[in-house]
């Protein structure tokens, strides 16, 4: 598992317009440029932000990646994918992006 490569990928997908476009066009092809395991590729393609964080990926990157590229950019769904409890979700106002 490579936290460093995953962070490099997510950073590019959060801040670089060309990377975002290539990912939207063909995510698997884009990720093929990086030394990622098949499991890591699936993690990114599935927007499995919980698994990414468990590998040590910085939460600011998982959030940026989600907000930029996830099919459903709901922050409530993002928190659910992180395993947030009902109580944690109730406390969250969805103020960032609905």
């Amino acid at each position: 598992m490579s936290r460093n490569v995953l962070e490099k990928v997510l950073w590019q997908l959060s801040v670089e317009r060309a990377a975002k476009e290539r990912f939207r066009e063909d995510g698997r092809k884009f990720l093929g440029r990086f030394p990622l395991s098949e499991e890591e590729v699936e993690m990114v393609l599935a927007f499995d932000v919980g698994a990414l964080q468990r590998l040590g990926v910085n939460p600011m990157l998982t959030m940026g990646f989600w907000q930029e590229l996830a099919p459903n950019r709901s922050m409530r769904l993002y928190k659910e994918r992180l395993g947030a409890t009902e109580e944690q979700n109730a406390a969250f106002s969805a103020a960032l992006k609905s």
């Binding site: 939460p59 959030m63 940026g64 944690q88």
Partner: protein, 291 residues
């Protein structure tokens, strides 16, 4: 000889701009009003320049280069993000003073990374546009503003003692500057907030008030004694930004503080603290670097 004439702690919460009405009008007005009071107090200090201590949020710097601390010595613009209510543009820097801080640092064992052309993020632009720019209008003149960025959001984090050392080195540099410079330093950030984690939206009021109390009482040693683990557990990854508070507090000679406002705002995912640091006449802090 220049001098640090004061300092502030204040938040840089982007959610305020994205969802300004989320916490209701009363809370919202208290927070926006706190920025206005900071601007008024900044103008009353009659500064000639400002240093804003912010931090990257894994946008400006990537895995290829993660500086522990960096100072903008040349052209400055930003913010890099598009936030409703924040304008993008060029920022007047004080290049001579920024360069002097770097040169003085080299003499005293502080090797600054420099950004010769730097695009800031919201951690600089929110205090700059909500506090420095209104103060410029009150004063009728420009307040050149130097960006200093400490690693608070991305590991390896700068240590709290090192952040304070940088503050002391900035003070030493200002005091050896050859102009009659009056500098105010702003520590931008905090207090408790969880960014991008399952706990996002939680606010730790106890922690926040504890930090503000350190500021009020001038307890720098206590402020820099927190472990990363304690901060992360009690107040979230966003609270690592108290490093910026430590830097600003250490830059103000024998600082004491006054709380201008505190609002725990879960809707804006943050405990928002505003504090003014005033130079005291008491015990001086230790030298810049241990020898």
């Amino acid at each position: 000889m220049g001098k640090i004439v004061g300092g502030f702690w204040m938040p840089h919460d982007p959610v305020m701009f994205v969802a300004p009405n989320a916490p209701g009008e009363e809370v919202s007005q208290r927070v926006w009003g706190a920025y206005e009071r900071c601007a008024q107090r900044l103008a009353e200090l009659e500064p000639t320049s400002v240093i804003i201590v912010g931090c990257d949020h894994y946008i400006l710097f990537g895995t290829h280069c993660l500086p522990r601390y960096v100072i903008g010595t040349g052209d400055v613009d930003g913010p890099i993000e598009s936030l409703p209510g924040l304008s993008k543009g060029v920022v007047a820097n004080h290049q001579a003073l920024a360069g002097h801080i770097v040169a003085e640092g080299e003499r005293s064992g502080v090797d600054w990374t420099v950004a010769r052309s730097f695009t800031v993020d919201h951690s600089f632009s929110i205090p700059h546009q909500l506090v420095v720019q209104p103060a410029e209008k009150v004063l009728g003149r420009e307040l050149p503003s130097i960006p200093v960025y400490l690693a608070c959001g991305v590991d390896p984090y700068i240590s709290l003692p090192r952040a304070a050392q940088l503050g002391r080195q900035i003070r030493a540099a200002v005091e050896s500057f050859d102009a009659d410079e009056r500098v105010v330093i702003i520590g931008s950030g905090g207090i408790s907030h969880w960014v991008g984690t399952a706990e996002m939206g939680r606010v730790s009021e106890d922690f926040d008030r504890e930090i503000l109390a350190h500021g009020v009482e001038g307890r720098l040693a206590e402020l820099i004694a927190y472990s990363n683990e304690e901060i992360l557990t009690r107040a979230g990854n966003g609270a690592m930004e108290i490093r910026n508070f430590a830097c600003a507090m250490a830059a103000v000679p024998a600082a004491r503080g006054e709380v201008i406002a505190y609002e725990p705002v879960p809707e804006w995912v943050t405990g928002l603290g505003f504090l003014q640091l005033t130079p005291g006449s008491g015990h001086e802090q230790s030298p810049v670097m241990p020898t």
